[in-house]
């Protein structure tokens, strides 16, 4: 099983290290043609506007949509969750998303850096105790469509959701050293 991590900008190295820790082959993806053998793709945290510009320039919008249509699972963390959403609120003018997942995501919903926080989360379908959620200028999932399963909430706001082979988290599991969500993605979401 090969899982790619979109390596245009942001915390892609941490995702690669987490995948290697659970013995999944990780591929750093900088150009669309590097996605041909992947069964899953992680779009990491970073600045969604910067990642979106680079995706546009290098032809990732069509390529990711096509690969997803052909069976590639996709997980977006933070900026990645914004990029896979059908609708984005508080984006910059003309900010494009992939529109894969039937969710509405509000950018920087939890505030600026002074409001960034760590909190324990209860996440459905995850084995073991609570998960340490690291929220950095984080978005939240303001609305989910039918067929989207809200997996976790913080202060009433949805912060993790799944729709078939799509996963979105507004926090950063790659910064915690806890591989449970990476394992969930590899074993449950990709394998579905």
């Amino acid at each position: 099983m090969q899982i790619g991590v979109l390596a245009l900008q942001g915390a892609f190295r941490e995702h690669i290290m987490m995948l290697e820790a659970i013995e999944v082959t990780a591929v750093a993806v900088r150009l669309p043609e590097q996605m041909s053998d992947l069964c899953g793709l992680i779009i990491p945290g970073g600045e969604s506007t910067a990642i979106a510009k680079l995706m546009e320039t290098y032809g990732f919008y069509d390529a990711i949509s096509q690969q997803h249509g052909a069976g590639m699972a996709v997980w977006g963390t933070c900026a990645g969750a914004i990029l896979i959403a059908k609708e984005v609120l508080d984006g910059i003018g003309g900010q494009r998303s992939l529109g894969l997942m039937d969710i509405t995501v509000r950018r920087n919903a939890f505030g600026r850096q002074k409001d960034s926080f760590v909190a324990d989360l209860d996440i459905n379908h995850l084995p073991g105790e609570g998960f340490r959620g690291v929220f950095i200028r984080a978005p939240w999932i303001e609305w989910v469509g039918k067929g989207v399963d809200a997996l976790a909430k913080h202060d009433g706001a949805i912060v993790a959701a799944r729709q078939g082979d799509l996963l979105a988290t507004s926090f950063h599991p790659e910064l915690t050293g806890d591989p449970r969500i990476h394992r969930y993605f590899a074993q449950e979401v990709v394998a579905s």
């Binding site: 390596a7 970073g46 910067a50 680079l54 950018r107 850096q113 926080f117 324990d120 989360l121 909430k153």
Partner: protein, 298 residues
């Protein structure tokens, strides 16, 4: 489970934002209009200033924190993180910047130092700090004071990458040296580096700095950015290099692409074409010792 218990301003939250900026370009801007150009070009953050380093250098005198109005206008104009500079040791400028909603404070040698012995106690502020360093000892002293991101200093406002290269290579060499030491040698290394033993030991065990390290001070072209990335930095600051060039928006976008594709010379070649005039630049030997910004900080 106490779902509502949340902690702000923790080390993880402070270093976490720096992790998200990796592989990106942080651009100096002096007004809202430049900030929008930077955001549209794909900057991961902007540094709000009253004057870019090249102009600070040209005009001389005392350089201070920007007028809060400029910082607030930049904060209001973009959705990406905003950084702003305070003088070394000027903890009140830091307190002021924290109230303006900035996401990172740069305790910067580009401004005239306010204290020639002490830096700001950065642990006392919820907003994270980035600080300049020329070598491992300087970086670890700043981290001990609470910096959650480092940038190698280079020589700001010159458009000359030579000092940025020197400092990045020194950092890498220092880390390699410490990594090769035996346990008992680390106490002596801490003494030589004038840095806390625990941090020196961490670097020796992990072979890297405990926080993200960007490169700064003299980057003016896409090739400069790719050079610094290949030398091992996590991302780049471009100060005067963008808005002192002929066509800022085009150069900004090209530097962003070169920073992502730093290992791919064909892409760096492609984005380097027809960018218009680069900033003129200054030879380091033409700068009197007293005017070298990199010497500021202790």
């Amino acid at each position: 489970m106490a779902e509502n218990a949340k902690e702000t301003g923790t080390l993880l939250v402070k270093t976490g934002l720096a992790e998200m900026l990796k592989g990106g370009v942080i651009m100096d801007v002096v007004n809202a209009e430049q900030a929008k150009i930077a955001e549209d070009a794909g900057a991961v953050a902007v540094m709000a200033l009253e004057r870019v380093p090249a102009d600070i250098r040209a005009s001389g005198g005392v350089a201070r924190m920007a007028d809060p109005t400029i910082v607030e206008q930049v904060v209001a104009s973009v959705s990406i993180p905003v950084m702003a500079k305070c003088r070394i040791g000027h903890f009140v400028e830091a307190q002021i910047l924290a109230t303006l909603g900035v996401d990172y404070i740069d305790e910067s040698e580009v401004l005239t130092p306010a204290d020639e012995q002490y830096h700001v106690n950065k642990r006392e502020v919820t907003v994270p700090f980035v600080c300049g360093a020329r070598n491992l000892g300087e970086a670890l002293r700043r981290i001990a004071e609470g910096a959650s991101m480092i940038r190698t200093k280079g020589e700001p406002g010159t458009g000359n990458v030579v000092e940025a290269v020197r400092h990045m290579r020194t950092m890498t060499d220092d880390i390699a040296w410490v990594s090769g030491l035996r346990g008992e040698q680390l106490y002596d290394a801490a003494k030589k580096l004038q840095a806390p033993y625990e941090l020196v030991k961490w670097v020796a065990e992990n072979g890297k700095l405990p926080v993200v390290n960007f490169s700064a001070g003299g980057i003016a072209t896409p090739a400069d950015a790719a050079l610094m990335m290949q030398l091992g930095c996590d991302g780049v600051f471009v100060g005067s290099g963008i808005f002192k060039s002929g066509v800022p928006s085009k150069r900004a976008k090209a530097i962003v692409e070169a920073t992502t594709h730093f290992h791919d010379a064909e892409i760096v070649a492609k984005v380097s074409r027809n960018l218009g005039e680069a900033m003129v630049g200054i030879n380091i030997s033409d700068i009197p010792d007293a005017e070298r910004m990199q010497e500021r900080g202790w």
